[in-house]
Amino acid sequence: MTEPADGVLRPSDHADSAPPSGEDIASPRLGVVGWLRWGWRQLTSMRTALVLLLLLAIAAVPGSLVPQRSADPNGVTQYFTDNPDLAPVLENLSLFDVYTSPWFSAIYILLFISLIGCVLPRTKHHWKALRSQPPRTPARLARLDDHRDVVVPVPAGQDAETVAAAAVDTAAAQLRKSGYRVARYDGRGTFSVSAERGYLRETGNLVFHAALVGVLIAVGVGGGFTYTGQRVLVEGQAFTNSLLDYSSFNPGRFVDSNALAPYSMTLDRFDVSYIPPGQPGSGQAGDFAANVTTLTPDGQRQEGQVRVNHPLDVQGDRVYLLGNGYAPTVTIRNAQGEEVFHDSVAFLPQDANMTSLGVIKVADGMPEQLGLIGFFYPTMDTLTSGALTSTYGDLEYPVLTLRVYAGDLGIDDGTPRSVYTLDPTGMTQIAGGDSGTPALRLMPGETQDLPNGLGTITFENEAPAGATGYEGSVKRFASLSIHRDLAGPWVLGFATLATLGLLAALFVPRRRMWVKATPQGDSVRLEYAGLARGEDPTLAAAVDHVVERHRPSLPAPGDQSLPDTGKVD
């Protein structure tokens, strides 16, 4: 490259920049300011940017090898159980929270500081370049890689100066028409036009890098205004959008949890279809849809559907379908026949055929507190081992089995307990297992006695009157996730901007073009030369094109075109 990259300010170790002068390297003493300046220059150099990028790539990898708290909290717990010795070590290295760890943060923060340090001066420089003239025509165009020479005769009756000036005029007009910015530099016996195009390339580059900063800020700040909450709804149940009604709620830093959009939502019906036996993919469930009715404070009632890939928009929130399952309705009466428990209990699916596990807790109304651990099989079958299993997800032969424990549920001391688990330590098993009494086993509509004359238990049949088979006999639940995400649109906006910038930065050719005419007695020597600024595989063709377009305007007879002898392009 014959010219320093003056039009574009790039880091000093950019491939196109002039090599560093000896002074830079050998400076013996630096003051504090000198060191700071040196450090800043290092940080904003291409090499540092590159090393930081590669470090970022490497640093991201462990997060895919070790389970992450953010994506897979159960996996982390499991990892601690499986690797009790290794896990604490990894924990100290933040390997379960890679993407919020100090070392990962350090890398990307340095990278972005470097990026800003890179982009700001370049923006200033580019701003100036955008408003200045293309630079003076180099004295010796022949030194450029892409260079063509044409000698044309001066027709009789004209003088060489006029022909040369006219030729450059035409060239300038043609270049301007092709989108070049042009400037005339005539003098010292030559006429020339200097032209430059493709400022959009550098603009695109700057927009791209700046938009990356935008993405990072949008993610960081937007996260503070974002909340997500989870709620399990059984068919027929409703919930109101307030902190109290969520089973879990994760607000960003700036979210006022007491001022959520006020609305309520009822799950009217949950739809699911199964591929019947004998067809490819049989047993596979699909077409999940939670049919809900929302009620806004102004009394507006609206029906909607929450489906996979199709969240429902409600008052600026988006409602997602996370999961679903069966919620058997169970009624328990004590020995006096009083109802002590009646509820539809969400059972968590354990396998693809919806074998489901759930817990029932009876705190009051019995001589002792009761805890029941239940398995629900929508289509029960018996394995050769005698164990029960479900062979199909739909309600073909629904069976509920329950083990019963009596004693202290441990819920009175205020310790929070999950509604999905029961810790039977300290309780006596009175049905199932080694208790001597078999586990309870019920189908919808059946009632059985509890052991020890404690009362009765009923597995309610929820099917509407006149239903056939077991269709609809057990209610379903939907697990919904409610999000407010203010970051999303901004992130998308910046990402789109980045892509557009990238397209311009990578594919708009930036180049300079010169056409110079030198009168030489009875002929005029025309020189054409191009210089790429950055990647430009089509430069040679572009120079040829300029020559071709220019040729018809030149005096015709006897003109000969000599290819540049120095290089094969």
């Binding site: 790039r10 170790d13 950019h14 491939a15 196109d16 291409m46 090499r47 940017a49 590159l50 990028l53 590669l54 970022l56 790539a57 991201a60 990898v61 997060g63 895919s64 389970p67 992450q68 953010s70 994506a71 897979d72 996996g75 890679v98 993610v219 997500t228 591929i275 490819p280 993919g281 596979q284 699909g286 077409d287 999940f288 489906r307 996979v308 890939n309 199709h310 969240p311 988006r318 997602y320 996370l322 996730s481 999000h483 995400d485 999303g488 992130v491 998308l492 990402a495 789109t496 980045a498 892509t499 990238l502 397209l503 990578l506 950055g534 990647e535 595989p537 040679a540 094969v568 392009d569």
Partner: protein, 339 residues
Amino acid sequence: MPGTDPLLLDEISLLLVWTAVAIYVLAFIAYAIDLARRSDLAIKAKDEVVARELVTAGGGGVIDASPRSSASGATPARPRYLWARMGTALVALGFLFHLAATVLRGIAAERVPWSNMYEFALTGVLLVVAVYLVVLTRFDLRFLGSLISGLAVVLLGGATLAFHVDVVPLADPLKSVWLVIHVFVASLATALFALAFGLSVMQLLQARRERKLAVAAASPDAAAPRRSFLQTLPNADALESLAYRFAIVGFIFWTFTLIAGSIWANDAWGRFWGFDTKEVWTFVIWVLYAGYIHARATRGWRGTRSAWLSIIGFAAVLFNFTIVNVFFKGLHAYSGLTS
């Protein structure tokens, strides 16, 4: 096609896949023979040129038929590589069978044929071959033929053996337009990265040869490098520029893949980014190629080092497609291989 048994269609499709694989094997062999014979051809061509130059020396004409390559990546006076032509013809034929197989699979499944590992491979490799064939109309990249056809054989054959599953209806999370866009664009990016990868490998070989040539030229005692097909290839710089051009187009597609994936994730899972394993690897690949682009612009990194980054980038792409899909736990459990 209502009334047609999807299993039967899939069986025919499989038959076509194996036919395609067999043809790709033949193409690979033809291309390999081509490479093996190229050095001889190059020498012969040179001798002929010398002979012709002697003949025409009196006339003062200049014949630019030296096998030295030009920066645009095409050899100026193309020697007639018969075996390479055969290889290309075979790849084109294999492609037709492959295309038919893929379309048939789509018809059998009544949806786009890229919804599980087997189908990703089917469509992905199809796009690699398609991009290669399209690019051949502009650049003479037949020296990559053995690599591309070899890749096609290994990936397509391997995927069919290891990943083939019967047609089943789509799981709910996959019923999305974003499946169509996201996966297709990702495959396209992969195809372009594959070409860049091949060119970077050639670049490394060529650079090594050029270094040896330089040494040999400098000292008379050093042995000249052995003759090889590399003589007939563009020089290392030209290979690098060409690799870069494919890589940046691939990079744009990959950027789009990343964004489209985020939009889909936001619809399906309620967050656009969660560092799920597949997301991590897509990100890692993106950053690696960003690094590659920077490396090419950094003094001291241009050339061999940047070529290595392109190779590592493509290794990550392959890793992401195979190992991550099959063995890593995550939300992207769409290999179709479990349950």
